[in-house]
Symmetry: C2
Subunit: 609 residues, 2 copies
């Protein structure tokens, strides 16, 4: 079966993509090269076990030690391999199972919106001119500026793209055109020249490590015309930020690739949103992008190396306005992309936007904002100060690093109740279970704690009939092989419990450090605002039971969904909010957890259930 050819053809199903690669290229690299999105949480070093694939046909390298450890016997029997450990030795046909694809999962992008009077930063001016003649040889720009002067508007300036487009639009529309302008320190800037009466559209976006949320908004009346959530395509280069920075550090081409893939995906999404809303890309005359610091730097092409090295400082932290074409965004080329201030290396402009949209700093009641994601940012607002920290909660809540973990896609167990010793679960879309998502594992562990199957240390009760050894370690049998969609059992292993302990422990430590710094008791915090996609579906009781949050009356918790995305929308429609956001970050005291004296002690305490 093995071929002597120097190159092999790889066919990936179900996408049907093909690629020809040199004989020493593994399947993960091949998938990345041909744009097949495959989860690679550890960036291909063979430790996360996320990049499971099935070899349907064709010769491949022998099983590695890593695969023997990370794959179950039934998976091995079914031809499952890890893409990062598997090198074809001839033409092969590969199936990517649903659980390894970062697609199709529930992408929560909505959030609570506060009503806001639209005050867009750009404004339209309709001009109707006499064209040039042999006795009127003024340049197009001079002609427009002299018209604007008669309307009391100061002269406009623009860039190469907008000034060229002005000439073209004037001639195309018979010297009647809608100018989109923006006042700035140097005068009035030309953003776009549109046909008469064109409505002005804006784009708001929240760029998460895992997910991109995009919103198309009519900035004149504030209505959202279309919105969508898509996977961050960078995920194929590493599920967490640290892996992506490591990938970028391998060379300028890699860093650039991460930028290009991100911008490409955003451009594709813009096209889809425009079709949905029935508008033209050129009508998008303003944009606001928020995101964590690393994604902010990736998106704008800033260096990221220093974000991967202590003390993790950003290249810049002030709010920025970049021209869309500089970044490669396919909207009106003169549109400016506003990105609000960054708070710290791991507290990005997305948290600024979340603080804004939740109005959490509007009056100084004692409140906490927890924005849960791969990194969780936490702010504690007191009547004196605002303290903020960031904590690496990791991708466990997204189902990564969990034996049967998966994203919140159809077939994922999302809720577990244990009745008379038997687990009863519900799955997303009621499909036969194929894995367990973040909310599901939280729910399962909370129930196992409640019923005493797991103790405070996270140890499983070996007396329980559903607990037995798998690969030498204790595990709880959540679903038997005949109950699942793929015919393999679904387990909660000691290792899974440990991952959740680390994740929730990180969040709890952040909360405790902030409380201690501000000298406030958890009981004195009246509002707990829980934001983020995972935070939307989170069962608060389960979260309290596993001690992610302090045990408090449940009505003190408010789940607000994608607060960062809502903040981006508010920044888009109101320039007043941009000023508020800028002032707001000035009041924040950032607490670096790793240098906090009591950190280790608090973290060890927080691991307990």
């Amino acid at each position: 079966m093995t071929s002597d050819k120097q190159q092999h053809e790889i066919l990936f199903q179900p996408s049907g993509r093909r690629i020809i690669v040199d004989r020493d290229v593994n399947l993960l690299i091949a998938a990345q090269r041909c744009g097949v999105d495959l989860v690679a949480a550890c960036n291909g070093v063979g430790i996360c076990g996320a990049c499971k694939i099935r070899v349907i046909n064709g010769p491949v390298s022998p099983l590695s030690g890593a695969e023997k450890n990370l794959l179950s016997q039934s998976e091995l029997d079914d031809g499952y391999r890890l893409a990062c450990c598997t090198v074809p030795s001839g033409d092969v046909l590969i199936e990517i199972p649903k659980s390894s694809l970062p697609f199709g999962q529930r992408l929560q992008i909505d959030g609570q919106e506060a009503p806001l009077e639209p005050e867009p930063i750009v404004f339209p001016v309709d001009v109707k001119l006499e064209g040039p003649g042999l006795t009127d040889l003024r340049s197009d720009l001079t002609r427009v500026n002299q018209f604007l002067k008669t309307k009391g508007i100061e002269e406009i300036h623009g860039n190469l793209h907008t000034l060229g487009a002005l000439s073209i639009s004037c001639r195309k529309n018979n010297w009647e055109t809608r100018l989109v302008l923006r006042k700035n320190e140097t005068g009035t800037q030309l953003i776009a020249s549109l046909p008469p009466k064109t409505p002005l559209i804006g784009l708001a976006a929240d760029l998460g490590s895992t997910k991109l949320a995009l919103y198309l908004v009519n900035i004149e009346d504030g209505t959202t015309l279309a919105s969508m959530g898509v996977m961050n395509p960078q995920i194929v280069y590493g599920e967490d930020i640290v892996s992506r920075i490591a990938y970028a550090n391998e060379g300028e081409a890699n860093r650039r690739q991460l930028q290009v893939r991100l911008v490409e995906t955003i451009n594709e999404s813009i096209s889809e949103l425009c079709i949905t809303a029935g508008v033209d890309k050129g009508q998008i005359v303003d944009a606001v992008f928020v995101g964590n610091t690393a994604i902010h730097h990736f998106f704008t092409g800033l260096p990221v190396r220093q974000l991967g090295e202590t003390p993790y400082v950003p290249a810049l932290s002030d709010p920025v306005d970049y021209e869309a074409y500089e970044i490669g965004l396919e909207i009106a080329p003169g549109a400016l992309v506003h990105m609000p201030a960054i708070i710290a290396g791991y507290v990005g402009a997305d948290h600024t936007a979340a603080l804004l949209s939740t109005r959490i700093m509007n009056n100084r009641h004692i409140r906490v904002l927890v924005d849960i994601g791969t990194n969780t940012e936490i702010s504690l607002v007191t009547n004196k100060k605002v303290f903020t920290c960031s904590t690496a909660s990791g991708p466990a809540f997204e189902g990564a690093h969990i034996r049967d973990g998966m994203r919140a896609a159809p077939g994922a167990i999302e809720k577990v109740v244990i009745k008379e010793g038997q687990p009863i679960f519900t799955t997303i879309d009621n499909e036969a279970p194929i894995g367990i998502c973040g909310t599901g594992i939280l729910s399962a562990i909370a129930e196992l704690i409640r019923t005493g199957v797991i103790n405070k240390m996270g140890q499983l009760d070996t007396e329980n009939p559903r607990v037995s050894k798998f690969n030498g370690k204790n595990a709880y049998l959540l679903a038997k092989s005949d109950e699942t969609g793929h015919g393999r059992e679904i387990l909660i292993t000691r290792n899974d419990i440990n991952e959740i302990q680390l994740a929730k422990g990180a969040i709890r430590t952040g909360i405790e450090v902030l409380l201690e710094t501000a000298a406030i008791n958890a009981e004195d915090v009246n509002d707990w605002v829980i934001a983020g996609a995972f935070g939307t579906f989170l069962d608060i009781s389960s979260a309290m039971r596993i001690s992610m949050f302090p045990t408090l009356p449940i009505e003190r918790f408010h789940q607000v969904g994608n607060a960062a995305g809502m903040g981006a929308k508010q920044l888009l429609t109101s320039h007043h909010q941009r000023d508020i956001a800028q002032n707001l970050t000035k009041d924040i005291k950032y607490i670096e957890l790793t240098v906090y004296p009591e950190f280790t002690k608090l973290f060890l305490q927080s691991l307990y259930f």
Copy 2:
């Protein structure tokens, strides 16, 4: 010989370039596609006869009527064809004769320089910082800005490129870096971050229709480090501006191609200049580009269609400062490219620069500036006003449209004296004559007028033993076939004389219209400043003899060389000169010749010798 293949391979010699083209593609298009620069004065419509090539081998389409008219019998015998009229019908080997290649000719780029105190618009600030630590998490930009504040410099802002480069330079140079800054209306702009003590370099350029002149200057002390002249690569798409605009109008890809070719050639020249001067491209932190209006628009990507249609108005006429990376120039990506004001559709920023460098408006003596090129711009300065016009003198002075015309390359006849009825000529580099360049034809015609062989109407004396019929029209035998380098005779035909009449008539008409408008006699003009490459080599006596200029004492004429290039250098080293240039254009009254009431009458008069 003829092949039935759908595609043919064409090999161009002496460059050795090959291309495979579809069977209906003519040799001019094929040459353009594979980057073989071939003069195409009429943009390939078969009327200029400039794109002469020789078919060495292989089958081609039959001779066209145009070729029978435009090529001599001896040329036809030698296998000469016009590339635009010749379609291969199989694989062919083509020779491009020296006279059809826009290379190797004398490129005059020097000019008279007035001494000037350097006052560059950018300035260096050397910073030495403490790097970040766990208790100092300021972003790189914040760190730099807070340092600058201690030095009394306000905070800097930048674009994506400069801000990213700042972080990288700080880390690479151990937090010691030389910032290059520029004050503008919004504060202080970051141009570049260089290693400590790096000298600051600037680039000045004059973009002509035919020729690009580039100068690398140390902007701190004003010295010119290197300079060079290269052909404008757009020449292969049409020798004159009108042909290039027509080519651009065929589609956006064509317009873009003209821009890209130009920027590519400039970037290659920058690399060469940097090697010569021993500096790095990233040190070029400021640039000034001048050029005629069309080249200005091509270079900056502005639309050009309106420049090819009456009333020929520019898209913009104000001075502009564009970021180098926007244009694609490979210098410091934050460097700004300054382009001074445009006066009119056919009086560009190059004339603004020429007016500046000649100081012609400094005191209001009555003076004339004639900047001779494919378009000739003329300014008349009086004690009250400045009048400027543009006149299409055409490429005849460059040797185009002339039967044996060629550019000022080795082997071109450049001076003719008639002694005892016999022409005595000198050639460039003393090579055997292969054609006649612009100064040569002027010299020859002036001598033929002096000796009565040509009368005031331009008619040849058929009694002269060297005058006889060629292709049914009178021509003067300048060099016999046994005297030339290519074995064919060199003639001055009635048609050549006519072309020169049109060219010099256009210039003279422009002068006369300005004098008439200002109500001034030619005798009252004390200074005649003659600029431009052709103007450098021009024999003023010959020019007066053919009535290009009024007959006046020769000491009133001053040949200043590339005044536009010198102006670009002055604008580069002195921001004060930029203000002067901007004010200077405000005083100019542009005279559109085509609507001048007496234009036709004056033009007909100006045709006489």
